[in-house]
Subunit: 306 residues, 2 copies
């Protein structure tokens, strides 16, 4: 029985590309391992897979009785629902340490860098395994995505150096130009149902017993949302009413202006005031300089719930 | 304000030597970091510090407002009591993943090897930092202690190679002979109060909401305990009565015969029957081949509580 590598629910490019890259590394080291995914892929990720000639990893949501590596998260709400019945062999991640626990020793490579694929590159180097050209290309795109082409405050010099090294292996001359091409694909919202946009890059967090869902859409120009912003706001209110979340937030991130408009529905009227020092007006607030959910949005919110 | 490195409560040699080794590495990399400890040191650890010329790390139990690295555990019950008010910068460990969480990204080096110091050697290699002779000696002794001179089932080829490399750096010809000398120090129980022996290497675990305390004494001959075994059994019953533990277990490990006698007081009369397939007689059971609390004692027990 092969081992699996799986990223978080509502997979982003980092979750998918790191599953592909890690399963190749493990298999090369003699441990048969296959990449998997917990949900549908975004246009950005499909663009990357198409560009470098990969099939979509297997859609697999149940892991009872299986052995698996977890990538790009360590939170129970974001992983497979039956993870308690699986054996976790390892975790490769670059987020805060979540609430996943194990009953046996394991392998964790967790670093405060911009992307899981930057850490997987360290693993290839540690094991002295050559990265195939197409895997290097996919890893590089994931790093450009997670670091918003190096603009995110989560980006480190390790990420930048890693993109340079991977571009060389993949034979790509202008990594940043490819990054912009990718973000243009990511910015396309026309014809996409509003709920699909809300959930395109959506993560749930357990904040001191309260479930908080935070979506993010990164685009090259916020004007893209002019016609649908009211619909997005209505839909996050609907999403909150359908479930048991304390709050649902949607970040509309302008990667060129380098800031985010946050749409908010919450049981706390003063949620953003408390967490970010800025109140909402009509359920919206502009947060200047905020590009990173992980580094700029989640920690202050977590603090405000403590 | 310097950063700290601290191991688990009732520190063992691995916790202390890895705190010393990691703080030197971090300081060398430009981040002022000092080793600390959560409790009194065992005769074995004092032997190592004396042998290689180290002072005892600072006794420090409160970390509110501080930044620290956690070594040799990732369990809330084993760490500082006010860890929630501290910033965890990283975790270096070789046990199952515990329930410590963070609100910010961090650095975790967790590997399924025999000793935390084996992982810290990987960190020195990654950063290309030379290990000072005396630190190499202390790291080597910690690995010999945790792996019971390579006999424990937790011992991996990485641990053995690491001891070889560290012995070379430290200028030690016969690492195993030094290991035996160390275990002779560890085996000395004469004149030590019974409660001190019970708590010498004692860890609490949260097993599905039940607090289980497990102590271990490793000696070169179980006959050492002939005169005091009844007192040890009485004392773990007393320890259980004093607190809120579901069970208190004490492993008397014979490193030459390669097995452990387990002394048991528990709210479940069939605890060892369920976990290890062998019932106690008069509160005692011999577990052949069992040397490792981490690999052979905790996981089956955890399973039996699930
Ligand atoms: Mn990521
Ligand atoms: Mn240890």
């Amino acid at each position: 029985m092969p081992h699996y590598v799986v990223g978080h629910k509502i997979p982003d490019s980092d979750s998918i590309c790191s599953a592909i890259a890690l399963s190749y590394l493990k298999t090369t080291l003699g441990e048969e391992t296959v990449p998997a995914r917990l949900g549908e892929l975004s246009p950005e990720t499909l663009f990357i897979l198409d560009k470098f000639g990969f099939e979509q990893p297997e859609l697999k949501t149940s892991y009872a009785g299986e052995s698996l590596y977890i990538v790009d998260h360590s939170e129970r709400t974001q992983g497979p629902d039956d993870i308690d019945e699986a054996t976790i062999l390892g975790i490769i991640d670059h987020h805060k340490l979540g609430d996943i626990t194990t009953s046996t020793p394991l392998e964790c490579w967790i670093r405060p860098v911009g992307c899981t694929n930057t850490i997987i590159k360290m693993m290839y180097d540690f094991h002295n395994v050559e990265i195939p050209k197409n895997i290097a290309g996919a890893m590089m795109c994931a790093i450009l995505s997670d670091t918003v082409i190096f603009k995110s405050p989560t980006c480190t010099t390790a990420d930048i150096k890693c993109v340079e090294a991977l571009a060389e292996i993949a034979g790509i001359d202008d990594a940043e130009a490819l990054g912009m091409e990718m973000f243009k694909v990511k910015s396309a919202v026309e014809g996409t149902p509003v709920r699909d946009l809300v959930l395109r890059d959506f993560k749930d967090f357990d904040m001191n017993g309260n479930l908080v869902g935070i979506g993010q859409l990164e685009v090259i120009d916020l004007a893209i949302f002019d016609d649908i912003k009211a619909d997005l706001a209505a839909d996050i209110a609907k999403l909150k009413a359908e479930g048991n979340r304390h709050s649902v937030l949607l970040l509309l991130t302008d990667i060129m202006k380098e800031g985010s408009e946050m749409l908010v529905v919450s049981d706390n009227a003063d949620l953003t005031e408390k967490a970010y020092g800025k109140a909402t007006v009509d359920g919206k607030v502009w947060l200047d300089g905020v590009l990173s959910r992980k580094k700029q949005v989640v920690p202050p919110l977590q603090e405000s719930f403590a």
